[in-house]
């Protein structure tokens, strides 16, 4: 839609003001179509941002935002100097990092593999199968994990025992917590993550492959010289977007996987906000923690965008 507004406008002449108006009139239907989207962002994304102000207040619902006392950076001070801040930061960062390193490349890999399947029917079939886990709720995923990994009759541990290996306490140990979390994410989201990449792959000009084949390039060569460069910008954009929600480790999954034995490595910002903020009705404090996370996300997005531009990619903005 942005492109259409730059179409040359003829037959109006005169002052720049009226030309602008004329351009507006000419594209009025396009603007009208954009209106709901714009309204959506203004109403649901920009207006609520004022709510962030309560992180600098001792917000009390009965007094409202105007009546509540201003406390400056008190909540941030409490958060940063809390005994558990270091642990929370480390846990969140590590999980986010593992997620980026171990999970992010997988959908690309899977999309590339799917792309190489030549039989359309088979490809469709596989695609559908790998999408399914996305629609399974975390409660169920965690339930399934219990059935597989518990020491009491869990399938995996039974197999380990059958081949004479010692049982491993996957669910109640600090060592296995992050592995389990990432493995669950990989199982649930890899298939779904391929959608955008497959769409990008579908847009690659088939003539390029033809030309490459005539030049004697094999499958791998084609992959390296045509496919990957073609979807590189999509990968970069998704990476930047991912960084925006870098510290969002996902509440439900971690909350459900947490227990007394792994809290030391498992408690993250999201679960902390739930326990301390939401459950105890401390809205200001929760907001302060949320704002902190958002600021980190913003810094990462802007940073990554700059970096991407430096390497000659178009970036996000």
């Amino acid at each position: 839609m942005a492109e259409t507004t730059t179409l040359p406008v003829r037959g109006t002449g005169g002052q720049p003001g009226s030309r602008k108006l004329a351009r507006l009139m000419k594209n009025k239907w396009l603007y009208l179509m954009a209106l709901p989207g714009m309204l959506y962002f203004i109403i649901f994304k920009y207006f609520p941002m004022w709510g962030l102000l309560i992180s600098f207040q001792e917000y009390q619902p009965s007094l409202g935002m105007l009546g509540s006392k201003w406390v400056g950076f008190d909540h941030f001070h409490r958060f940063f100097f809390d005994a558990s801040f270091g642990m929370l930061f480390r846990n969140t960062l590590l999980l986010a990092l593992y997620n980026l390193v171990f999970f992010f490349p997988l959908p690309i890999l899977l999309a590339l593999l799917l792309n190489e399947i030549r039989r359309e029917m088979f490809k469709r079939f596989i695609q559908t199968i790998v999408y399914v886990p996305h629609f399974v709720s975390w409660v169920v995923v965690v339930g399934i994990s219990y059935i597989f990994f518990t020491t009491e009759g869990g399938i995996v541990n039974d197999i380990l025992a059958a081949v004479g290996l010692p049982k491993i306490d996957f669910l109640m140990s600090e060592e296995w917590f992050r592995t389990m979390i990432i493995a669950q994410v990989v199982w649930k989201e890899t298939g779904w993550g391929t959608i955008i990449f497959l769409a990008a792959l579908a847009g690659v000009d088939q003539q390029l492959y033809e030309a490459a084949r005539i030049d004697g390039a094999g499958r791998l060569r084609q992959l390296w010289h045509i496919t990957l460069p073609a979807i590189r910008s999509v990968i970069v954009i998704l990476l930047i977007l991912r960084l925006g929600s870098f510290l969002d480790t996902g509440f439900e999954q971690i909350f459900l996987m947490l227990n007394s034995m792994n809290r030391e490595v498992g408690e993250v910002f999201d679960t902390y906000v739930y326990n301390v903020g939401i459950q105890q009705g401390q809205f200001s404090y929760s907001t302060a923690v949320g704002l902190f996370k958002s600021v980190i996300g913003l810094v990462l997005v802007v940073g990554a965008n700059k970096l991407a531009k430096k390497f000659g990619e178009s970036g996000l903005f």
Binding site: L39, I43, F44, F47, P48, W50, G51, I54, Q60, P61, S62, L63, G64, M65, D82, A83, S84, Y146, T150, T151, E152, L171, M172, N259, S260, M261, R263, E264, N275, V276, Q279, Q280, G281, Q282, F283, S286, T287, G290
Partner: protein, 510 residues
């Protein structure tokens, strides 16, 4: 946050309506501005004595909202001479809704509050949002009979700001497979040592007689509900205790540590479900229902459901309860708070003292036996019938959806206040135990106390102790580690909680 989102959503809908000029959307926004829970503000001063009392109530429900023209509601309205306008809110989102409603400033005349000790509610109470009802209670025949001790538990700064919904004080007990007990040739446990012997036999002596060692004595869940009961049996305080005029948390008591060692023994000898720290409440129940475990420590009312479910899968399976276990300090059981949620009356909607009295009168009448039976049994011929002059449910599920999960929630008396019906011997047994155990229930003195540190940091402090307890039981930490956790708790704010509780306690009891 939530409040603002909702508020902006409303504004958003309005704004869209105006911008697009569509009457449909504008109508929508108009409706949204008129929350269902607020009744007309006129007609409060005039004609009160004659006309029915107009009453807007916000309450929680467990299934689906009943229709306002249902028979039950009509009967209630006729009996209490009122016109009810109830907004039913699902239990799962009730806390949020209360916070949003307080924020919106448009309050119903009666609001049920679950989290009456949360900082935001406390703040509202202290800034004078709600009526103090303490001075009026004794004027009503039924309300005046409500337990004063429980009123003490809901007091804020020594004053009563609402009517609590009474619940039984001590419902905990051991629910076990009595057919297994027979199979291993043991009798009902009377002491903690007996209990240990039973759990051992349930684990090792093949109580289900299938030739395999595939059962476990005790099942438990991550919140360790059962542990507190065992600790109480062994003499530990219930949550907090008063020691030399000061409050002291239960885990500082040596008996508490003894209970931890008992659990550790159960764990080491595999007499307790080995993965209990990851189990949730439902998984714990499944262990009993699937015949995997022989005992669970929980609310004894669950026993009836276990019995029903087990009889279906294992013919001959039998469930029994026991609640009195002899310990070093005699028979004890942890006492609850004695209530669940509080009805509160906002001053902004209940304008006059006169009106407040009428509302209290409504709840008083709702505690008459006629009303208790209506709320507890439903309508005769539809939900229950009389058999041997005792009420019996015709269709309990229908009752639950139409009355039990909604109108019954308006009742301030205990669920058991209705006319007793036909009960199975098991139900009679635990019913009597629950009544009898009130006299051995150990009260938690902190129920009546307020500590600012506890309200703001309580959820941060709790896991420090609970995690260390679980780790000790599983052998991942030793006594030194446990002591260190207590030190951590003290430093993280625990000492302040002790200080504040003690100060408040001294203030109340001086």
């Amino acid at each position: 946050m939530k409040k603002w989102q909702t508020k902006w959503k409303k504004t958003g809908i309005l704004a869209m309506g105006v911008l697009l000029g569509t009457t449909l959307l504008a109508g929508c926004g108009g409706n949204a501005n008129q929350p269902g829970g607020v009744a007309d503000k006129d007609k409060t001063a005039t004609g009160e004595a004659q006309g029915p009392l107009k009453l807007s109530i916000m309450s929680l429900m467990y299934a689906e909202p009943p229709k306002a023209d249902s028979d039950v509601q009509k009967t209630v309205e006729a009996y209490t001479n009122s016109k009810l306008d109830i907004s039913w809110v699902p239990n799962s989102m009730y806390k949020d809704k209360v916070n949003v409603t307080i924020g919106s400033g448009e309050l119903p005349k009666v609001m049920l509050v679950q989290n009456n000790k949360d900082s935001n509610i406390l703040n509202a109470v202290r800034s004078g949002v709600f009526w103090e009802i303490g001075p009026y209670i004794d004027d009503y025949p039924n309300l005046s009979k409500m337990s004063k001790a429980v009123f003490d538990n809901i007091k804020v700064d020594g004053k009563i700001y609402g009517l609590y919904r009474a619940r039984d004080l001590s419902t905990f007990g051991l629910i076990y497979r009595s057919d297994w007990l027979k199979n291993v040739g043991l009798s009902e446990p009377k002491t903690v040592d007996d209990l240990y012997a039973v759990l051992k036999a349930f684990t090792l002596d093949d109580p289900d007689k299938n030739g395999k060692q595939d059962t476990v004595g005790l099942t438990e869940e991550k919140a360790m509900e059962g542990f507190n009961v065992i600790a109480s049996f062994m003499g530990a305080p219930n949550g907090w205790e008063v020691k030399d005029g000061k409050l002291s948390p239960d885990f500082l008591a040596p008996e508490y540590f003894e209970a931890m060692k008992f659990y550790k023994k159960l764990y080491d000898e595999k007499l307790i479900k080995q993965d209990f720290p990851v189990l949730n409440n439902q998984q714990k129940k499944d262990d009993i229902n699937q015949g995997k475990a022989g005992m669970v420590i929980s609310n004894m009312i669950d026993a009836a459901a276990y019995q029903a479910s087990l009889t279906k899968t294992f013919p001959g399976a039998d469930v029994d309860v026991v609640s009195r276990i002899q310990g070093p300090k005699g028979e004890r059981t942890p006492g609850g708070q004695g209530y669940n949620s509080v009805f509160m009356f906002p001053k902004s909607s209940v304008k006059t003292e006169e009106e407040l009295k009428q509302i209290l009168n409504f709840f008083d009448k709702l505690s008459d036996q006629t009303m208790l039976d209506l709320l507890g049994w439903g309508a005769e011929g539809k939900h229950y019938k009389m058999e041997d002059s005792k009420p019996v449910f015709i269709d309990q599920k229908l009752f639950d959806t139409e009355v039990g999960s909604s109108y019954l929630q308006l009742q301030v008396a205990k669920y058991t206040a209705k006319t007793p019906g036909m009960e199975t011997p098991l139900m009679e047994k635990y019913g009597k135990m629950i009544r009898d155990n009130e006299e051995i229930a150990v009260n938690n003195p902190s129920n009546a106390l307020v500590s600012d540190t506890q309200t703001t940091k309580g959820n941060e402090l709790k896991p420090i102790i609970e995690d260390a307890r679980t780790k000790f039981i599983l052998g991942k930490t030793d006594e030194a580690g446990w002591q260190k956790a207590i030190e951590d708790w003290r430093k993280a704010g625990g000492d302040k909680v002790i200080e504040e509780f003690s100060a408040h306690y001294a203030q109340i009891n001086s």
